[in-house]
C-alpha cells in the first residue's frame, strides 16, 4: 500500500482549529464523509425514535395507565413511525450505500458529488422540520403541536377540518423534502453504478451489495415519487382548498390509501433489500465460501422488486375491495415469498459446508436469517385476506412488521456496523461488547415481539391509548415493555461500543476479515481519493485473485 498512498493525509494530522474541521464536514462532497454524516444523523434519530417507542410502551405497560395524555400518545406513535422509517432507516441505508458502493465498484466518488451533498442536506432539513413541529406546529389555532395523524395520515384525518394548526403541514413538507433527497440519492447511486465502474467490473462481476443497491435505487424512483405526488395533493387540499381527499366534495379517502400504500409497501422492500445486500457480503466472508448462486440472487432481487410493486393493497383488505382485487393482492403478496425464499436458501447454501466463524457480524446475520423467515411467515398469514380481516389493525400486525423492521432490517444493520466499522474508522469494534450487545438485543427482541403477537390474536387493537384489565392482555403487555427496556439497554451497549472502540479499539489494518471485495484493498479509513490508481478486476472476488495468484477465480469465469 505504501507505494500507492499519496501524502495528503500527513497534512491533516496536525491539530487544526475545530471550526475548520466543522466547515470541512459541512461543505464536504466526499461520498465517504456524506455516508458517515447520513449514518450519524440516522443514529441520532434512532435514539429519539427509541425514546418515543419507550414512552408508548410505558403507557401500555399496565391497564388504565396515564403516563402520558391520549393526545401525547397519538403524537408519540405518529412521530415514532415517521421518524423510524424516513429519518432512521432510509438515511442509514443510504449512508452505507453512499460509503460502500463507490469503494466496492472501484470508483473515486459518486457520479454527482454535489447532488449527493444536496440530497443529504435536504433529508437533514426534512428531519429538522418534522421535529420543529413540536415548537411551531401550534399555528394560530391553539391546536396540538406535533403531528398526531398516524404515520400514514389517512384522509380525512389530515384535512384542515380534523387537523387544524400546522402539525400536518410540517409532516407533509418534512416528508416531501426528505423524499426529494431520497430521489436525488437514488439517481446518484444508479448513475454511479452504471457509469463509474472500474475497468473489468462487468455487471456480472459486481459485488452483490452494489447490485442490490442498484435495484433498491430503482425502486426508490418508482416508490417514493407516488408519496411525493400524494403529499403535493394534500398540500393543495390544505392550502388551496382543493378536494382531492375531501369526501364532502366527491373526493375519495380510499384514493389516499392507495397512493400511500403504492409507496408504503415497496418501501418495505426498499429498506430490506440493502439489508439483503449486507447479508450477502457478510455471510460468505464468515463462511469462508463464495456466495452460493450469485446469478439467482440477482434475479431473485429483481423479481422481488417487480412483484413488490403490485402488492400494496394487501394493506387495505378491510376497506371493502371487491373479491377480484382481494384475490389478486393475496396472490401477488404470497408470490413475493417465492424469490425471498430463494434468497434465504442461497444464504443457507453459502453457510452449508463452510468454515463458519461466529464473529459478531455473522451472529447478527444469522439472527437476521431466522427472524426474517418468521416475519415472512406471519406476512404470508396476513396476506391471506380472510385471515387479515380478523387481524388487520391489531397488535398481530404491529408484531409482524416490527419483526421485519427490527428482527430483519435492524439486525442486518447491526451486522453491517460490526463488519464495516473497522473500514470506516480504522478501529475494530470490541468483540466482547459486541457479543453482549447481540445476546441482550436478541433476548429483548424476542421477549417484546414474540409475545406481542398474542395480545393481537386476543383482539388488542393497535394505537389504543389504554385498555381494560382482565382481558388476558395485562401480563403480556407488561412483559413486552420489559423486553423493550432490554433492547434499550442493548442499544446503549452498542453506542458505548461505538464510542469506546473509536478511541481504544484495536487497529484494524486494511483487511481485518480476510475479505474479497475492493473496499478492503485500501487503507482503513480509506484515503480521500479512494484508489491511487483505478483497480482492474477480472472476477467477482478481486482480492481473492490477488491473495491467491496460484488459483484465481478469474480462471473459472
Amino acid at each position: 500500500m505504501s507505494s500507492d498512498v499519496i501524502a495528503i493525509q500527513t497534512a491533516e494530522a496536525a491539530g487544526r482549529p475545530w471550526i475548520q474541521t466543522l466547515h470541512e464536514w459541512v461543505t464536504t462532497v466526499d461520498h465517504k464523509r456524506l455516508g458517515v454524516l447520513y449514518i450519524l444523523y440516522a443514529l441520532f434519530f434512532l435514539v429519539i425514535g427509541g425514546i418515543e417507542a419507550t414512552i408508548i410502551r410505558i403507557q401500555l405497560m399496565r391497564p388504565h395507565n396515564d403516563f402520558v395524555s391520549p393526545q401525547v400518545f397519538n403524537r408519540m406513535f405518529t412521530m415514532h413511525g415517521t421518524t423510524m422509517i424516513f429519518f432512521v432507516a432510509m438515511p442509514i441505508l443510504f449512508g452505507f450505500g453512499n460509503y460502500l458502493v463507490p469503494l466496492m465498484i472501484g470508483a473515486r466518488d459518486m457520479a454527482f458529488p454535489r447532488l449527493n451533498a444536496f440530497s443529504f442536506w435536504l433529508t437533514a432539513f426534512g428531519g429538522l422540520l418534522l421535529y420543529f413541529s413540536f415548537l411551531g406546529g401550534n399555528g394560530l389555532y391553539g391546536a396540538g403541536n406535533a403531528p398526531d395523524v398516524g404515520w400514514w395520515a389517512y384522509a380525512p384525518l389530515a384535512s384542515r377540518a380534523f387537523s387544524p394548526g400546522h402539525s400536518s403541514d410540517y409532516w407533509t413538507i418534512a416528508l416531501l423534502a426528505s423524499g426529494f433527497g431520497s430521489i436525488g440519492t437514488a439517481i446518484n447511486i444508479i448513475a454511479t453504478i452504471v457509469s463509474m465502474r472500474c475497468p473489468g467490473m462487468k455487471l456480472s462481476r459486481m459485488p452483490l451489495l452494489a447490485w442490490l443497491n442498484l435495484v433498491m435505487s430503482g425502486m426508490v424512483l418508482l416508490a417514493i415519487t407516488p408519496l411525493s405526488a400524494a403529499q403535493l395533493m394534500l398540500l393543495v387540499d390544505r392550502y388551496l382548498g382543493g378536494h382531492f381527499f375531501d369526501t364532502q366534495a366527491g373526493g375519495s379517502a380510499t384514493l389516499w390509501m392507495h397512493f400511500f400504500w403504492i409507496f408504503g409497501h415497496p418501501e418495505v422492500y426498499v429498506l430490506i433489500i440493502p439489508c439483503f445486500a449486507f447479508a450477502s457480503e457478510i455471510i460468505p466472508v464468515f463462511s469462508r465460501k463464495p456466495i452460493f448462486g450469485y446469478p439467482v440472487m440477482v434475479g431473485a432481487t429483481v423479481c422481488i422488486a417487480f412483484v413488490s410493486m403490485s402488492v400494496w393493497a394487501h394493506h387495505m383488505f378491510t376497506i371493502g375491495m371487491n373479491s377480484y382485487a382481494n384475490s389478486f393482492f393475496t396472490i401477488t403478496t404470497m408470490a413475493v415469498g417465492v424469490p425471498t425464499g430463494i434468497k434465504i436458501f442461497n444464504w443457507l447454501g453459502t453457510m452449508w459446508g463452510g468454515k463458519i466463524q461466529f464473529k459478531t457480524p455473522m451472529l447478527f446475520c444469522i439472527g437476521f436469517l431466522f427472524q426474517f423467515l418468521i416475519a415472512g411467515l406471519t406476512g404470508i398469514m396476513l396476506a391471506s385476506s380472510p385471515f387479515d380481516w380478523q387481524l388487520s389493525g391489531s397488535y398481530f400486525v404491529v408484531a409482524h412488521f416490527h419483526y421485519v423492521i427490527v428482527g430483519g432490517i435492524l439486525f442486518a444493520l447491526f451486522g453491517a456496523f460490526y463488519y464495516w466499522y473497522p473500514k470506516i474508522t480504522g478501529r475494530m469494534l470490541n468483540e466482547g461488547l459486541g457479543k453482549l450487545h447481540f445476546w441482550l438485543f436478541l433476548i429483548g427482541f424476542h421477549v417484546t415481539f414474540d409475545l406481542m403477537h398474542i395480545p393481537g390474536l386476543l383482539g388488542m387493537p393497535r394505537r389504543i391509548y389504554t385498555y381494560e384489565p382482565g382481558r388476558g392482555w395485562d401480563t403480556l403487555n407488561f412483559l413486552v415493555t420489559i423486553g423493550a427496556f432490554v433492547q434499550g439497554i442493548a442499544t446503549l451497549v452498542f453506542v458505548a461500543n461505538l464510542v469506546v472502540s473509536y478511541f481504544k479499539g484495536a487497529k484494524a489494518g486494511n483487511d481485518p476479515w480476510d475479505a474479497w471485495t475492493l473496499e478492503w484493498s485500501v487503507s482503513s479509513p480509506p484515503p480521500v481519493y479512494n484508489f491511487a490508481s483505478l483497480p482492474t478486476v477480472a472476477s467477482r472476488r478481486p482480492l481473492w485473485d490477488l491473495k491467491h495468484p496460484e488459483d484465481p477465480d478469474s480462471r473459472y469465469e
Binding site: 430521489i183 437514488a186 439517481i187 446518484n188 473489468g200 418508482l222 403535493l232 486494511n510 483497480p535 490477488l546
Partner: protein, 198 residues
C-alpha cells in the same frame, strides 16, 4: 501490501460506460413519470365525479395551436443539438432561441386558458373536483415547462457569451432529453384532459 493495491496488469481493451449525465437524466425522467402517473390517475379517477359545475365539457377548449408550438419545439431543440455537435454555433443559438420562444408561447397559452377559465367561468382550484385535478395536473406540467425554460435560458446566456461549443454537446443533449420528456408528458396530459376527460 503494495501487491494488493496494484491492479492486475491486463486492462480490457475497450472499457466504455454510458455518460453519467444521460443516465442521471433518464433516472429523473423515470421518477418524474411516476409523479405524473399519480396525478393522471387522480384526474381520470375523478372524471365526472364533481358534485357541482362547471364540467370539462362545458368550459374546456382544445389548445391546438399551443400544442403544435410545444411539440415542434422538440424538433427545434433536436436540430439545435445536432448543429452544436457539428460546431455551428450561430445556427445552434438560433434554433435554441426558437425552442425557447415556442416553449414560452405554450406557457402563454396555458396562462390565457387559465385566465379565461377563472374570469369567465369562475373555475378555480377550489371550485370542484374538476378544478382541483385540472389545475394540479396542467399546473404540474406548466411548472416543468417553466423549469425547462429557465434551464434553456441559462444555456442561451452562456451561448451568447460564447461559452457553449461542441465540447458541451453531451451536456446540451442531457437538457434536450428533459425537454423531450416535458413534450411527451404533454401528449399524455392533452389526451387525458382534452380527449378522454370530456
Amino acid at each position: 501490501m503494495s501487491a494488493i493495491a496494484t491492479p492486475l496488469p491486463k486492462t480490457p481493451a475497450a472499457w466504455k460506460l454510458p455518460y453519467r449525465g444521460k443516465v442521471g437524466m433518464a433516472c429523473l425522467i423515470f421518477a418524474e413519470s411516476a409523479i405524473f402517473t399519480i396525478f393522471v390517475v387522480a384526474y381520470l379517477y375523478y372524471v365526472g365525479k364533481s358534485l357541482s359545475g362547471p364540467t370539462p365539457g362545458e368550459v374546456l377548449e382544445t389548445p391546438i395551436f399551443y400544442t403544435i408550438c410545444l411539440l415542434s419545439s422538440s424538433l427545434t431543440i433536436h436540430f439545435a443539438g445536432e448543429l452544436l455537435a457539428r460546431g455551428r454555433r450561430g445556427a445552434f443559438l438560433l434554433f435554441w432561441l426558437l425552442t425557447i420562444t415556442l416553449g414560452a408561447l405554450f406557457l402563454y397559452g396555458t396562462g390565457q386558458e387559465w385566465q379565461r377559465l377563472i374570469y369567465e367561468h369562475g373555475l378555480t382550484i377550489s371550485t370542484n373536483l374538476f378544478g382541483t385535478t385540472y389545475y394540479s395536473l396542467v399546473g404540474l406540467h406548466a411548472f416543468h415547462v417553466s423549469a425547462g425554460l429557465i434551464m434553456l435560458s441559462i444555456v442561451l446566456l452562456f451561448g451568447l457569451a460564447g461559452r457553449v461549443g461542441p465540447e458541451q454537446s453531451a451536456r446540451v443533449d442531457v437538457l434536450s432529453l428533459y425537454w423531450h420528456f416535458v413534450d411527451a408528458v404533454w401528449v399524455v396530459v392533452f389526451t387525458v384532459v382534452y380527449v378522454l376527460g370530456r
